[in-house]
Symmetry: none
Subunit: 219 residues, 4 copies
């Protein structure tokens, strides 16, 4: 697991919450994910509190401002992704294509947790988030190294391609019911993976690296 303490935030040793407070906190985060997915990160915090079944002031006690709430949703999401990416890297030695497919499908199936990077809104340039993203990239590059050595995945694909593709695939059209959306996403994953087999045709044009990408987040 990549997380410790509360819900993956790196706050230094805050005393564990009382049981009810922890429950409230989790409900607020779940409600925030729902609301953000439906209406974007500008969704009314009243609404988030209502869905969570707590008073708005309780929400504020846990998350001093909107930014803090967004941040935690993002951290939770990237924490999940990091865990999955590391598992995939570990599994890649046995079977890299399967490991990658499992990684992608894990994200597809958990996509209700993966709200933020997929939605837009102001970028979160936060050290912890950055670190998580970097870890994800590292794990995926590790997987790709194995696969390139294997010859099981085309050589010109990067970790950033995988991350961003996964991000997109996790966000298919929002009004489809969940099973159909999953089916559609699964098909896209499959086509994408088929496209990742060692190229018999044209090489990919150059694209940004993870560092380019990270540079823009830092502003």
């Amino acid at each position: 697991m990549a997380t410790r303490g509360r819900t993956g935030d790196g706050a230094p040793a805050s005393p564990p919450l009382r049981a009810d407070a922890a429950r409230n906190r989790a409900q607020v985060l779940a409600a925030a994910r729902e609301a953000f997915r439906e209406s974007g990160t500008a969704a009314p915090l009243d609404e988030v509190a209502r869905r969570a079944g707590v008073n708005i002031a309780t929400l504020y006690r846990r998350f001093p401002d909107r930014q803090a709430l967004i941040r935690q949703v993002v951290v939770d999401a990237f924490t999940l992704v990091l865990d999955a990416a590391r598992a995939a890297a570990d599994a890649s030695r046995a079977d890299a294509p399967s490991a990658l497919e499992n990684f992608m499908m894990t994200l597809v199936h958990q996509r209700d947790m993966l709200v933020l990077p997929l939605i837009g809104g102001p970028p979160i340039s936060d050290d912890e988030v950055m670190e998580l993203q970097r870890g994800i990239n590292t794990a995926l590059e590790e997987l790709l190294d194995v696969a390139r050595a294997d010859g099981t995945i085309r050589a010109d694909v990067t970790g950033l391609d995988l991350i961003t593709s996964a991000a997109m695939v996790c966000r298919p059209l929002p009004y489809l019911p969940v099973e159909e959306a999953t089916a559609l996403a699964t098909r896209h994953v499959r086509v994408f993976l088929d496209g990742l087999r060692p190229a018999v045709s044209r090489e990919l044009p150059p694209g940004p690296t993870f560092e380019d990408f990270a540079a823009h987040l830092r502003q």
Copy 2:
């Protein structure tokens, strides 16, 4: 061209706008696309008016409420896509894979016009929009028919797969500068197209049809 009159709306023969009014209208739509892309469809209309350089009341004169503005942005977007899809269908007889690639890349390059379906927000269940979507699907299925007969594109891919993939590919992470975002999107298109070559491997799992999709929009 799929459009006639103003900007592709099917309003029954309103007299053409005065030159200055038409200019204002176009500026409002451009500003709305910008704002919606950055902040979602809940973006302040004040802001849209300011970017367009008109008074908020002028915006309201043209678009009686937010919904009407969103709708027009969507209609304009789908009109472009429909034009491109029909061109691709026409070109497919000569070379289907190229026609498809051109279609995808046309969308990638025009993606500043293609705001809405990509953003979320409440679905627009509107007859005209529906008709445009259906037309797009029809054109792409026509292209696929040719390509399947050719044996140049795998048989188990549908028009809906193409539409939704295109939608996702046109919306890469928002904070990348335009050239890098284009490069990344281009790479994704290429991988996707490579994945569309006649499958040497597994067949795709079943997915929703366009009609399934349309049914959900109608509610």
Copy 3:
């Protein structure tokens, strides 16, 4: 007739309007009466123009501001009342109670024209309106003088009592359909008139005079 020129305004000899302009003007006034009756004198002028079937700018050409429009509606109303009051004064010599009843019932039946004084809104302190009101009071006092001499109406009732009672009776509850509202108003007139017969009982307590009343309009 108490009026000359246009519609009873005392504007000094403006050239007569072109036929269509005159029609527009009359339609605007009729629409204003309707709107004012339903929503008060703060009713949107757009709405008035729409009901009149003219452009808002046309309304403004005729009535430079809301005040001017209200004023004309009031003047038209008081002009009607003045005509009726003078007719009643003339007829009072033959039969004062009947003359008074006819006066009251004339107002009841024309009450769609009698919009303003009955609705509230800021008082119109305008010389012409004042003059009309004074004329009405004078005529009614003349009628009362005859009746008091006759012994057909109680001696302690004043012109102001009649005016204000008439004003109230012309404005019964607004959501009744017109026939029922008229029936109700007629009953009130009858009771009131019966109460006006020479008192066998208590004398009325003192009340304001017309001059008191006028003083407050002048502010």
Copy 4:
């Protein structure tokens, strides 16, 4: 008393307001009465809040929209009238004409509370309001039954006549100062009551019943 709890609303047992909140609520209602009386029910709610000395959002916390505020003003008004009507019905056994006069004068003296039915605006077709109106009518019919049996009031007058007359008399021309307006209203009440004595002259023409009236409110 016809009321219990807050201010006569039949809301099912909301917990009692905190003391300061209750004070604010009452001030808002008083301010609304003032503003509605002066400018109609379309009066700016900002203005209401300002007069009440509270923030506009506080007003909205208590009354979720304009309609709710209007409704409460009406309910409060009719509650007062109902209390007075029941008292009059009780007192009628001893002396019906005095009971009626007291009823009318009670309304005249409390007319700053009796804002809405007297002003117009959209009819409030609300069950609780309906019930109050029906109760008022019932009480007044009870009084009239006694009086008709007594022979102290003419037989052809109805409860609806009394209600609507009272409504009108409570709304004399708005710009008179309060003492003069009261004096004028008192005179009208007296004339009206004199007209209610057993008719020595003509019978009243037929008019709408309370049920007719109620039917129109229900639409």
